[in-house]
């Protein structure tokens, strides 16, 4: 049956996951895994661990750039709206002030820059992180509910070029975990 495509009843393996009891152990294991040549892996922790992204080789995030673009868009929208309304569409003499009273337009320009910038920051964080996503294979892992409380996990995914059920399992066990187990894809 399995020879004809993917109609197998056996669930596929997502990867191997190791649980550690503190952030330092996780950090060391991640460094070792990167050094051993593993690349497709992820670490899960209840709090941000500094140095972990450098250890696993995740360097750049575009969140700040997108936020900057959002902020500039907001400022342009804010000023553009006021200019259009006060100079072009509804050029009305108010207290003898010039139609383009740009200093008075600054507060709203500023507020919209902040507003759009924050939306861009939030939106890009969620989009780049692929959230909301309620079904992630890693939630199938044993004791994974601890990842949001006090469990520190390193998961080497089966898509990694070096992945080998036996060798990877042995490697993870050498890193001093609490437990190593297989994670099934759903």
């Amino acid at each position: 049956m399995a020879e004809y495509g993917h109609h197998t009843e056996e669930p596929t393996v997502y990867g191997l996951i190791a649980e550690f009891d503190d952030s330092d152990n996780l950090l060391h294991a991640a460094e070792a895994a990167y050094k051993a040549g593993y690349r497709t892996m992820d670490a899960y922790s209840p709090l941000p661990i500094h140095g972990l992204s450098e250890a696993i080789g995740f360097k750049k995030t575009y969140v700040s750039l997108i936020t900057l673009i959002g902020g500039i868009t907001g400022a342009a929208t804010g000023f553009g709206m006021q200019y259009f309304a006060s100079v072009i569409h509804y050029d009305y003499d108010i207290g003898g002030k010039p139609f383009n009273s740009w200093p008075s337009f600054m507060p709203i320009t500023f507020e919209l820059a902040i507003l759009f910038g924050a939306f861009a920051a939030l939106g890009s964080m969620l989009a780049l992180n692929g959230l909301p996503r309620h079904h992630h294979p890693v939630f199938n892992a044993k004791r994974f509910e601890r990842a949001s409380s006090d469990g520190f996990f390193l998961c080497i995914e089966s898509e990694d070029l070096q992945y080998d059920t036996e060798a990877t399992k042995k490697f993870l066990e050498e890193q001093g975990p609490v437990e190593v187990s297989e994670v099934l894809d759903d």
Partner: protein, 476 residues
């Protein structure tokens, strides 16, 4: 010596907790049935909210003629309340954003509750301009939008239009900031909850957060960016609020000191309010290990600093008036201190200038009952500050024939009470259903002041003898 010097710091979180303990302590509050005290407080708040709602419905149906305003004093009680509530909110943003940028780690115990307070306070504030419009269902007229009434746009040169943008942006950013901070904690509740309704709700709102390091990296960048955006925003909001007054030609309002003076006052009153709420929460929810004397002390110092800035601003206003050569300006300030509203002025001065000065003393800062009373006094004082600025500047016009006095009606008093009802109702609900302490952030500061050596050191330093022992290898 870097290692050794950390021994001198006091740990932020007492009890030498592990991350699991933090989750258990904070989520445990949500697992337990609410206490009798909570029910009593909640029902009382709800009752006050109900009375306030009735008063609001009555005045909206009847018209704002139910207020004590007259032609001379056209702005009084509700603008006072609006500025008061907006100011309360500012402390939340200061704690979550500005202290974050300054790397003040103690903020982690307070920021969640302070941000919640901000959002609720802005809601309370927004009610007043809405009612003041007289026909709140036409409130959208204040927004610029393409319409069918010929080309017709709002006047973008008006500070009241700036205010609408500032307040709504402020509300949205505060809510976003608060929610982003909540996501990892909601995931913690989700993972602890037994299968059922609560788990489903938390799963939905935590967006499927799994704590992957990639998400954490982006999360931290976003948090920093939001803090960097919220910091100038909070300053701009109260600056714009102060411009509602400062851009007019009313003596007592028309002054360039208003923006910094208002911002300092806002932080002053807001910190007093956060501290008051945290002192209650600490007691009721047994958070003594998380909100410690170190936190109280730090917050008292900020209240002292901003209180002194406010005091200096009062003095500066008088000096400016005396030096201005304008008889109207001079009259307003003499009238403020010795005229018909002198009682309000002196309540303001004694609450805002004199009482916070007591916080110079460590003995005062470490007496929780005293601090609690001071926080209430400061808030009373800051309410009166806005009342004094608004009413005493207006009631004596340029034209003596139009001089008038103002007394609030019972409807106005009930509306103010109603917003306190709303404030406490929402805050109690927040304490009941969401983690009051940012667990993810607190876990990051557990080791503060506790290197492995320091742990022994602190334990020994807490011995009654108080002798500071030198550990071996410590000198290195």
């Amino acid at each position: 010596m870097a290692e050794g010097s950390s021994n001198l710091r006091t740990p932020l979180i007492l009890g030498d907790k592990k991350p699991k303990q933090v989750s258990d302590d904070i989520c445990g509050i949500l697992d337990r049935k609410p206490t009798r005290m909570w029910y009593i407080a909640f029902l009382a708040s709800l009752l006050v909210l109900g009375i306030g709602t009735a008063a609001t419905v009555y005045q909206v149906m009847t018209g704002i003629g139910t207020w004590g305003l007259n032609k001379t004093v056209g702005w009084a009680f509700d603008i006072t309340n609006f500025v008061f509530w907006i100011g309360i909110g500012h402390a939340g943003t200061l704690i979550s954003a500005i202290l974050f940028l300054f790397r003040q780690k103690w903020r982690t115990s307070v920021n969640r509750a302070a941000e919640a307070m901000t959002i609720i306070a802005v809601m309370c504030a927004a009610i007043f301009p809405l009612i003041h419009m007289g026909r709140p269902w036409l409130a959208f007229w204040a927004l610029p939008y393409p319409n069918m009434r010929g080309p017709l746009w709002v006047n973008f040169r008006s500070p009241l239009v700036w205010d609408i943008f500032a307040i709504s942006t402020y509300f949205i950013i505060s809510a976003v900031f608060w929610y982003v901070g909540l996501i990892p904690d909601l995931a913690t509740i989700r993972d602890r909850a037994k299968p059922g309704m609560r788990k489903k709700i938390m799963a939905f709102f935590s967006f499927g957060w799994n704590g992957s390091y990639r998400t954490w990296v982006r999360y931290e960048v976003v948090y920093l960016l939001l803090a960097a955006l919220a910091t100038p925003l909070v300053v701009s909001v109260h600056t714009i609020v102060s411009m509602d007054f400062a851009t007019s030609v009313i003596p007592g309002w028309h002054t360039t000191i208003f923006p910094p003076y208002f911002v300092a006052g806002a932080v002053f009153s807001g910190f007093a309010m956060v501290l008051m709420l945290m002192l209650i929460a600490r007691k009721v929810m047994a958070l003594e290990d998380y909100f410690t004397m170190t936190h109280v002390d730090a917050m008292c110092k900020i209240i002292l600093v901003t209180g002194s800035v406010v005091g200096l601003a009062y003095l500066t206003e008088f000096v400016t008036a005396a030096y201005s050569g304008s008889v109207y300006e001079q009259f307003v300030f003499m009238n403020r201190a010795f005229g018909p509203y002198a009682w309000a002025y002196w309540i303001m001065v004694s609450c805002n200038v004199i009482s916070p000065q007591m916080m110079w003393f460590k003995k005062v800062r470490s007496n929780l009952y005293f601090v609690f009373i001071l926080t209430i006094i400061v808030n009373i004082g800051m309410w009166f500050e806005r009342f004094v600025i608004i009413v005493s500047s207006l009631h004596r016009d340029y034209l003596p024939s139009s001089w008038a006095d103002y007394t609030p009606t019972i409807i106005e008093l009930l509306t103010l009470a109603g917003t306190f009802g709303l404030f406490f109702t929402l805050f109690l609900l927040f304490c009941r259903f969401l983690p009051v302490i940012a667990m993810g952030e607190v876990k990051g500061v557990l080791s503060y002041g506790r290197s492995k050596k320091a742990r022994v050191f602190v334990a020994q330093a807490n011995e009654p003898m108080g002798v500071t022992p030198v550990l071996e290898g410590e000198k290195a």
